[in-house]
């Protein structure tokens, strides 16, 4: 066989091999973060009011959060009013917010009232709880406007 043909065949086999690997990795990625990037971008216009809210942080910080809303993920659109009771989040049926998501532990996190503020606590979950891009290690104060990411779900405390 001519050298050029050998080179071509070899290159195509290697490209196909790595193509398969990349396709499989993309499939795994879609499985974790949702099927299409389009879907992720869709809720963004809804979040547009956020800069406006941040413009007057001093006033907002004083307002105690009144409800926790799910703004992304399988339960997007629903919200739970905050009372004086703690709120548990997890995959287990007895959670206040029960999320059916592989990446959420049975008892994943909870929100506990402490006087006027709410504390977010991770309950030793496998994949962790993220508050405004920082991983939660101990009980952390949550203010209105803060975003909590648990698995594929994003929650927001709203006044």
């Amino acid at each position: 066989m001519p050298v050029a043909v050998v080179f071509l065949l070899r290159t195509v086999v290697l490209i196909l091999l790595w193509g398969f690997v990349i396709a499989a990795v993309v499939a795994v990625r879609n499985d974790i973060f949702g099927p299409k990037p389009k879907k992720e971008r869709a809720p963004r216009p809804a979040r547009a009011p956020r800069p406006a809210r941040q413009a007057k942080p001093s006033k907002k910080a004083v307002l105690p959060p009144a409800r926790v809303a799910v703004i992304d993920g399988p339960l997007a659109g629903m919200s739970v009013a905050l009372s004086s009771l703690p709120i548990t989040i997890g995959r287990a049926d007895d959670s206040t917010i029960a999320i059916n998501d592989d990446y959420v532990s049975s008892h994943h996190a909870r929100l506990v009232p402490n006087g006027a503020v709410w504390l977010l606590e991770d309950l030793g979950s496998t994949n962790g709880t993220v508050l405004d891009a920082a991983k939660v290690s101990g009980p952390t104060e949550v203010h209105a406007g803060s975003q909590i990411r648990i698995g594929r779900t994003v929650l927001e405390l709203q006044p």
Partner: protein, 466 residues
């Protein structure tokens, strides 16, 4: 509320079909490429054998679609791709030995690829059978002690049979009757994983009890060391009676890993590693076979042994060096110079003809299978499923590590097979069974939870159900 969103555990059939298609295109192209290297004629087998393999992959996919609809979409395509690539490489080595036999004027031995294709058919048939019969992996838990008896029987059978019925190339791990030969250790591995999972689910609380603390490590109580010592003794027994380094290592490694997963105590890993070191040193000092293997590993190019004992490893290393980064191209190298290239040294065949780039791609595919297996284990709701999934996935990872590590001279050579790639019926069939179990666990972990019949009033409790 149920219609708010599709559950995470949605079916991913489209992805699976696309990935299987990709794997089949790769297989067919590699097949054509191999054939083109040996003759300018259009390969005759590509239509019948190729269509046969495509049909097989299609049937396997339909079975998953029907019997495990929520299963992971990456596992089956990865197995199909590895199996296809394995068939192509075995066929390629057949062509080489046929042309060598022709050159020497002797008749060629039996071709291995058609046999491997038959074993693939049997493997896929058993894969489907397992998916159909085992509708819920939790039912395997009731078979815990049956699995133990069966697994142990299969494991020790070769040691009890006369050597003429059990020994091939020095390793006493076969059952041979007439023309039929079978390596029971591969099936025993799965049976024992089922047993370990069932046993550890029952005993984990005791085994996790804390004993004394030494150097910041919480040790288990002395009286709880029994099971790990039994596993250790049994694997040493396999080593001495059957001269099977690979199975011995695999068996003990899987047990220690599952013990760690079940109890979450790091001290078990330390104890396991300590026992492993003691066992290895003992084996090296006492068992001649093991001593030889280590010497070959340390000095493969020793002029005294290179023509016989370390010939295989040395040729394999030369082959891998020839391959370099991108390989010689399929059908262009001489991987057939390595003895047993299609079983023990299939990894060096890949490294020679597809290069480091090709071997890495294959290893990443194994990594994906293992990762998705562990993912399925984490997501399962029951402890038995978690342990079994973790054991199956870890066993596969350890086997690939020990096998490729031996061929690339990272660790001494042990003589295990590379799952789905190596030539060998027992290995291929048992890996298809293992894959079916992983898919079953994956299906259970991604299936949305069934609605509770007595769901409490939503307004009263504010519980949210999907």
């Amino acid at each position: 509320m149920t219609d708010l969103a599709r559950p995470i555990g949605s079916r991913r059939h489209g992805t699976e079909v696309a990935l299987i298609g990709f794997g089949l295109v790769l297989t067919m192209f590699a097949f054509t490429s191999v054939s083109a290297a040996y003759s300018s004629k259009f390969p005759s087998g590509i239509v019948s054998d190729g269509l046969g393999f495509i049909a097989l992959a299609g049937v396997a996919h339909l079975a998953v679609r029907k019997f495990a609809p929520y299963a992971d979409p990456v596992l089956l395509p990865s197995a199909v791709m590895l199996n296809g690539l394995g068939l192509v490489l075995i066929h390629r080595l057949d062509l080489a030995s046929a042309s060598r036999a022709k050159g020497a004027g002797v008749s060629a031995g039996t071709a291995a690829a058609p046999l491997q294709l038959v074993w693939t058919v049997i493997g896929v048939a058993l894969f489907i059978a397992v998916l159909v019969v085992v509708r819920d992996h939790r039912r395997l838990e009731s078979l815990t002690y049956t699995a133990m008896a069966g697994g142990l029987a299969l494991l020790v059978l070769p040691a009890l049979l006369p050597a003429s019925h059990s020994t091939v190339n020095g390793a006493r791990i076969w059952i041979r009757f007439g023309g039929f030969s079978f390596q029971p250790g591969e099936i025993a591995k799965i049976a024992l994983e089922v047993f370990f999972a069932g046993y550890l689910v029952r005993k984990r609380d005791v085994l996790a009890l804390a004993g004394r603390r030494i150097l910041g490590l919480t040790l288990p109580r002395g009286r709880d060391l029994g099971p790990v010592l039994v596993a250790w003794g049994a694997s040493l027994l396999i080593l001495t009676r059957e001269s099977d380094l690979g199975s011995s290592l695999l068996f003990f490694g899987i047990f220690v890993a599952m013990l760690y997963v079940a109890t979450e105590r790091r001290s078990w890993l330390v104890i396991g590693l300590g026992l492993f070191v003691v066992g290895s040193l003992l084996a090296y000092a006492v068992i001649g076979h093991v001593h030889d293997r280590v010497q070959i590993w340390l000095h493969p190019l020793d002029p005294k042994t290179i023509t016989d004992q370390s010939y295989q490893l040395a040729q394999g290393l030369f082959g891998q060096a020839t391959g370099g980064i991108f390989g010689t191209g399929l059908g262009q190298g001489r991987p057939d110079l390595v003895p047993f290239a299609n079983t023990d040294f299939i990894a060096s065949t890949i490294a020679e003809e597809l290069g480091l780039a090709g071997l890495m791609a294959v290893l990443v595919v194994y990594l994906l299978i293992v990762m998705r297996g562990l993912r399925a284990a984490i997501g399962t709701r029951d402890d038995f499923g978690k342990l079994l999934g973790a054991g199956l996935a870890f066993g596969l990872a350890l086997q690939v590590f020990v096998q490729v590590g031996g061929v690339t001279r990272l660790i001494p050579l042990t003589g295990l097979t590379l799952p789905f790639l190596s030539y060998g019926g027992s290995s291929l069939v048992s890996n298809w069974i293992l894959l079916a179990l992983l898919l079953r666990i994956s299906d259970a972990s991604r299936r949305p939870a069934p609605p509770r019949p007595d769901a409490p009033d939503e307004a009263a409790t504010m519980a949210i159900r999907l």
